[in-house]
């Protein structure tokens, strides 16, 4: 008897759940047309606000929010107010895909912006592609982003990862024979963007005769870099290059200093442009290099507006992540204004995509145009810590300071 009653209860529970589910689905279906009001444009975004990429993820968030605030204070987009719907994907590639699925399907957003970093951009772009959405992204720069066959993707920055160090590679290879570094050590996070930057430089230097003596890869959650540092120090490489994000470069540099390794040149992706970087490595920054797609000092009129607005709102000038996020906003806004629509319909989204395929957009990082796979066609600058401040040293016509080589001891 007891078993019977339990069975009955279980069946009843199942039936109730099924009904509840149906009702929920129906409610969603009913509400679908009014996912956003007619007087606002909802933009769906998923960002790594926690986990491995939380640091840059929050930078991107600040940039997106500043852009939306700026637009709303200046009449909005197509006369409508912009509302951002930002989810936290916890730096997880599974999570980011389901986030965009939810944003497009359940929340019925009008437009989407990309997340941070290649590992998350690829799954996110796939979802956007499946629904025919335009996908402009602020931080997926690795080559694999552009080889997946996405026809809806545009990278809102000056150059792809493999080309970030191009100006530095040229400078090193054009040094006179006696001065030119002979050996190089590379350490890169197991991450397509970080590896792309380091390997872009590695391949160019190796082709130019600079021997690769250490080539290490570490998982993104590594915090103990003493082993890698020991290998690099032991190799006595002339130059050290880190394909890094943030905390990894900080920990690696401190570990290298602990081993008293003094390279002639040290270049790290992303990390040195972070305002917390100098303090984090104990102020021994002199001579450290980093490629950057952005500087607050750039003289494009869009950039002046951006820097003033951002600085007033946040108290500090924007960094690269914030700038690329703002650029994403600018690029999408340019397409929306040209196509005169911002809704999830495939026709509208296709119009937006077509516009960007054909046109150049003026942004805070300069005029941007894209190839058929979404690779931007400009170049990255090289920055270096000179007299305690990070300054542009390459290319020479934009330089704020002289390129320092060899690097002072750290």
């Amino acid at each position: 008897m007891k078993i019977r009653s339990r069975e009955v209860r279980r069946a009843a529970l199942a039936a109730t759940s099924a009904i509840a589910l149906t009702l929920t689905t129906a409610a969603c279906g009913l509400g679908s047309d009014s996912g956003s009001n007619d007087d606002e444009i909802v933009i769906g975004i998923s960002l790594p606000l926690t986990g491995d990429f939380s640091e840059p993820g929050k930078g991107v968030q600040r940039g997106y929010e500043a852009w939306a605030d700026y637009m709303n204070e200046n009449g909005g987009l197509l006369g409508k107010q912009i509302r951002l719907k930002i989810l936290d994907d916890q730096s997880s590639a599974d999570r980011v895909a389901s986030d965009y699925e939810k944003l497009i399907n359940q929340d019925k957003v009008d437009l989407v912006f990309g997340p941070f970093s290649t590992r998350l951009v690829v799954p996110a772009a796939q979802v956007a592609q499946d629904y025919g959405f335009l996908f402009v992204e602020p931080a997926g720069a690795a080559e694999e982003v552009f080889t997946q066959g996405f026809d809806n993707l545009f990278y809102a920055a000056p150059a792809v990862a493999n080309d970030h160090y191009n100006l530095l590679a040229d400078t090193i290879l054009s040094m006179p024979e006696g001065e030119r570094p002979k050996t190089a050590a590379y350490a890169s996070m197991d991450d397509p963007f970080a590896q792309g930057t380091a390997y872009g430089l590695r391949d160019k230097l190796a082709a130019g005769g600079v021997e690769t003596v250490v080539d290490e890869v570490y998982p993104p959650n590594t915090t103990d870099f003493s082993g890698i540092a020991a290998k690099i120090a032991d190799s006595k490489a002339d130059i050290v290059v880190g394909g890094s994000q943030y905390q990894d470069a900080v920990n690696l540099i401190v570990a290298l200093r602990q081993l008293n390794y003094q390279p002639k040149l040290a270049a790290f992706s992303t990390a040195p442009t972070n305002p917390e970087f100098p303090e984090a490595i104990g102020a021994k920054t002199e001579g450290i290099l980093s490629p950057t797609g952005y500087t607050p000092d750039a003289e494009y009129p869009e950039n002046k507006t951006f820097v003033d607005f951002y600085t007033e709102a946040n108290g500090t000038p924007p960094a690269e992540d914030e700038a690329n996020a703002w650029t994403t906003g600018e690029v999408v806004a340019a397409a929306v204004e040209a196509a005169d629509c911002a809704d999830p319909s495939p026709e509208c989204q296709q119009k937006l995509i077509d516009h960007l395929r054909e046109n150049t957009v003026d942004t805070v990082v300069g005029p941007l145009s894209w190839d058929a796979e979404g690779r931007p066609q400009s170049a990255h600058m090289i920055q270096q810590y000179v007299d305690g401040k990070i300054r542009i040293v390459l290319p020479e016509d934009l330089a704020e300071a002289e390129f320092v080589f060899p690097k002072p001891a750290w």
Binding site: E55, V217, T223, S226, A230, K231, D234, N251, L259, G282
Partner: protein
């Protein structure tokens, strides 16, 4: 590419491995103590570790005083939290399912700590700024970082203190009796409930020490504890559950192995040494390689 290992690199790696192993030993000691006195699998141990690291960082940021001094507050605080946790939460679990349920309970506590840290301090990577973070001492051509040496000294001192306490004090005798045979200990008049509380407090106090040591030379973030709990669990199984000397020996051995394996295998594969060793232990000698009769009964 055939990696040619030079003598200095080998020496450097052994030194780094020993320093790392010392820290592992301290952290694993607490974990094995919980299991010993209470048959509790304490998933939240490394979360408390990160909590202590955050407290050290916060203390340093607010006062500018050396983070090591934060131990004056965190060690007693963690001891009290440990006793409280045992008396108020773990003691209420049914003895028959204690081990399994303690996994769930302490998993929940780990999530609460991680969430709390994220809420209060955000997910940003933090690092204590120390004037001596890059300083090192030279030894036969190898370099020993001052911060790592401090962390190692802290771990060694704590382990020694724990050893003396366990071996030569009445509390230690009572703790060991509780570990060896709770029923017999009770028959001899030992209040095993209270002793278990103290054991838990001691274990958590080692987390305060370990976390502070960790914070000296690493960036910290709220979810970092997941990175630590796996290797630590592997260490205490290999060392023999409940055996502090076993945990310490396994920790140093694995620390050095990890450091040496990094030379040919790289960082990604070197960290699998813990799990490879764990599998071998479970296949060949499930009770652990150093003492530890407990696991047989488990």
């Amino acid at each position: 590419m055939i990696p040619l290992v030079s003598g200095p690199l080998l020496l450097q790696s052994v030194i780094l491995g020993l320093l790392l192993g010392g820290l592992y030993a301290l952290l694993a000691a607490g974990l094995t103590l919980y299991f010993g006195v209470m048959r509790v699998v304490m998933i939240a141990h490394s979360a408390f570790l990160i909590l202590a690291a955050y407290l050290a960082w916060y203390f340093n940021r607010e006062t500018g005083i050396d983070p090591l001094l934060s131990l004056v507050f965190t060690v007693p605080l963690f001891f009290v939290i440990g006793v409280g946790m045992q008396r108020l939460l773990l003691a209420r679990l049914r003895p028959a399912t204690l081990t399994m349920m303690s996994v769930l309970l302490t998993f929940a506590i780990a999530l609460v700590i991680e969430g709390g840290l994220g809420y209060v301090f955000s997910g940003t990577q933090r690092r204590i700024q120390l004037g001596y973070s890059g300083s090192s001492i030279e030894l036969f051509g190898a370099r020993i970082a001052v911060v790592k040496l401090i962390a190692f000294a802290l771990a060694a001192a704590a382990l020694l203190a724990l050893y003396v306490l366990m071996k030569y004090t009445r509390l230690g005798q009572a703790l060991r009796a509780t570990i060896q045979h709770p029923e017999a200990a009770r028959l001899l008049g030992i209040n095993t409930d209270r002793i278990a509380g103290y054991g838990f407090g001691l274990g958590l106090a080692t987390a305060a020490l370990g976390g502070t040591a960790l914070s000296l030379d690493s960036t910290i973030y709220p979810s970092l504890h997941w990175h630590w709990i796996g290797p630590l669990m592997a260490i205490i199984v290999i060392g023999g559950l409940g055996s502090i000397p076993g945990a310490a020996a396994a920790a140093v051995l694995l620390g050095v192995s990890q450091s040496l394996l990094q030379i040919p295998m790289g960082t990604t594969w070197a960290q699998t040494v813990f799990y490879a060793a764990l599998f071998v232990t479970l296949m060949v000698r499930p009770q652990g390689f150093f003492g530890g009769r407990l696991a047989q009964r488990f």
